[in-house]
């Protein structure tokens, strides 16, 4: 029974984290057709910036509660700056190029950003564990669980809904949806596709940065933390169907529970649980669970 509770909670918690790190990737792909490897670097930057900002904050002896507000501000500002620099500086000059080539571009960016992070922050570890301990733990079915982890679940849900709302309800969001549906027609209809791209890329980046910011208090912020994230995020969005936001949610749930199940029931399979899920899903549904039907008309 306790094991069941644990699996439910762990799966949910891991799924929420996966969703946060993956949804930006799927959004950027859906709109811009760029499979952004640099996403992992954005995540790492988020973690580092959070660690530095909060480090300064705590060293001033300020009250712990407002640290969370600072985390939000940091995520927004860092995401916006990094996203816009990369979009304006590099990607803007390359729109319309081959999809595979863009993967290469973002890989090159990833390498550059990884070392940039290293040059700025060095290779030593950074810690900001205070937020993680701030709310303490509660016992659920006899299992102590960190409140912070449950808050990440809430955050993932809220941000997912907010993103969905933005796409469905706001003007910019609807323009984005139109660009996803048909880039040429949208441009012909007077939608500023470049602006849509810039906005999308910034939002996608912010999501990656948020992922890093909320993770920083749980981990040692060290070089290389972005590498594994990329491949996990890829797996999640492929399971769900590339470019689909509900797909990213479902993919995260699949991958999250696959991992929780394997950790509790068959730890020896943890290493490839997520890949196994991906292989099985693709074998059954070659385009992922939530893929848009794109039958070519002849």
């Amino acid at each position: 029974m306790q094991k069941f509770t644990a699996i439910m909670l762990d799966g949910m918690s891991y799924a929420a984290w996966l969703f946060l790190v993956a949804v930006g990737l799927t959004l950027i792909y859906g709109v811009m057709r760029i499979l952004n490897i640099a996403h992992g670097a954005f995540y790492a930057i988020g973690a580092y910036v959070c660690a530095s900002a909060l480090g300064v904050y705590y060293s001033l002896g300020l009250p712990g509660v407002f640290a969370f507000a600072l985390m939000g501000v940091v995520a927004l500002v860092a995401g916006l700056i990094v996203g816009l620099i990369v979009e304006r500086g590099v990607l803007r000059n390359l729109y319309g190029r081959d999809e595979v080539l863009m993967v290469l571009v973002t890989y090159a960016l990833f390498l550059i950003l990884e070392d940039a992070v290293k040059l700025i922050w060095g290779v030593k570890s950074y810690f900001v564990y205070q937020p993680y301990a701030h709310f303490g733990f509660i016992e659920i079915g006899g299992l102590p669980y960190q409140v912070y982890d449950l808050l990440i679940v809430a955050l993932a849900v809220v941000m997912g809904i907010a993103l969905w709302f933005w796409l469905e309800r706001s003007r910019m969001g609807r323009m984005t949806t139109a660009v996803v549906a048909d880039r040429e027609i949208s441009a012909a209809m007077g939608i500023n596709v470049k602006r849509v791209f810039a906005t999308t890329f910034a939002i996608g980046t912010i999501f990656a940065v948020v992922g890093g910011v909320v993770t920083a208090p749980k981990i040692a912020v060290t070089p290389g933390i972005g590498v594994e994230v990329i491949i996990l995020a890829f797996a999640v969005v492929v399971i769900g169907g590339l470019g689909s936001i509900p797909g990213a949610a479902i993919g995260a749930v699949f991958a999250g529970y696959a991992r929780a199940l394997s950790v509790h029931l068959a730890p020896e399979f943890e290493l490839f649980a997520i890949y196994a899920v991906m292989a099985v899903v693709l074998a059954i549904r070659p385009h992922g669970l939530f893929a848009r039907a794109s039958g070519r008309k002849i």
């Binding site: 890989y107 491949i231 492929v238 991906m278 385009h287």
Partner: protein, 313 residues
């Protein structure tokens, strides 16, 4: 225009052979770098072949590791050290894997092909990491190989290994060029461009893709075998996605103008990498990334387009 000018292939390969002979005059460390780059280059060539059919394989390391482990296990565990048997085994096992996986994967296209092949290669990675008897992530070492009973001693071994690698690379390029001029090879571009048209002409795009996957697997198996022989060590990292990603990047950077492009491209990239490491051990990734970005921006069709530019001028 077709991406490969087939009439020039024999010339290209002859140039490659010439360059490899010049390799004898390189300092030892660089010739060794060239030797391992040739092994990797064959894998990149395999990736490039599939790319002609629009298939981007992010798990090509699977065949590379199979070739490497085939050589390693036969030599280290079964005591078979004859280089010819070992390399034939490397090619054979990779080919068999290519056939089996090709049956599944030839249905897939675009990113889904990329991700499914990645998933499969990572599952193999996971299995190898679990295999304590194969040294897990540490992998294991491979004894020196023999040539029909002759064991080259320490002083000539580097030369012999280099010659083996160079000769087999050239032969592999020739075989690949021959494949590319066959119907199956030519139709790859048709698969990438318009499968509907291809099917309506009575050709099977799945079959064309399947053949490309199998040929690429064989090349990669040979590459893995040669790498294992050269470095005397194999480990599961050979099938990690980072390794496979490297092959994709070389295939893309090099361009598809010739079978020798990925092979030479791999060497150039390794050269940049090692010099970057030497100059700036703390920032070599940044240099590597910048070089890649510069190539993409300045040479949209890959390094090979340099040669075409010269031809036009």
């Amino acid at each position: 225009m077709m991406k490969t000018d087939f009439r020039r292939e024999p010339l290209h390969i002859a140039i490659l052979a010439g360059l490899l002979i010049l390799g004898f005059f390189l300092p030892d460390w660089m010739r060794f770098l060239l030797q391992t780059a040739l092994a990797g280059g064959l894998v990149a060539l395999g990736v490039a072949l599939q790319m002609r059919a629009g298939l981007v394989n992010f798990g090509q390391g699977l065949y590379y590791v199979l070739g490497g482990y085939a050589v390693g296990m036969l030599a280290a565990k079964a005591g078979i050290t004859d280089v010819f048997l070992l390399l034939i085994a490397a090619i054979a096992i990779a080919t068999v894997a290519g056939v089996v996986l090709g049956l599944l994967l030839s249905r897939y296209r675009e990113i889904f092909y990329a991700m499914l092949s990645l998933a499969v290669s990572m599952i193999l990675y996971g299995l190898l990491v679990k295999a304590a008897w194969l040294g897990s992530t540490d992998g294991f070492n491979i004894p020196a190989v023999t040539y029909l009973g002759w064991t080259p001693d320490r002083t000539v071994r580097p030369d012999v290994y280099y010659i083996t690698t160079a000769v087999l690379t050239v032969l592999a390029c020739l075989a690949t060029a021959r494949y590319l001029t066959s119907g199956a090879g030519m139709l790859c571009e048709a698969v990438a461009e318009n499968e509907i048209r291809l099917e309506y002409l009575g050709a099977s795009s799945r079959k064309v893709a399947f053949i490309a996957i199998v040929v690429a697997a064989a090349l990669s198996g040979l590459g893995g075998g040669l790498f294992a022989m050269s470095t005397g060590h194999v480990d599961p990292l050979m099938t990690n996605w980072t390794t496979s990603g490297g092959f994709v990047f070389v295939a893309l950077l090099a361009g598809r103008g010739s079978t020798i492009a990925p092979v030479i491209g791999f060497f150039l990239l390794e050269l940049v990498r090692t010099y970057a490491l030497d100059f700036a051990p703390n920032a070599w990734q940044m240099i590597l990334g910048s070089v890649m970005l510069a190539v993409i921006l300045l040479l949209p069709n890959g390094l090979w387009s340099l040669t075409e530019w010269r031809r036009k001028a």
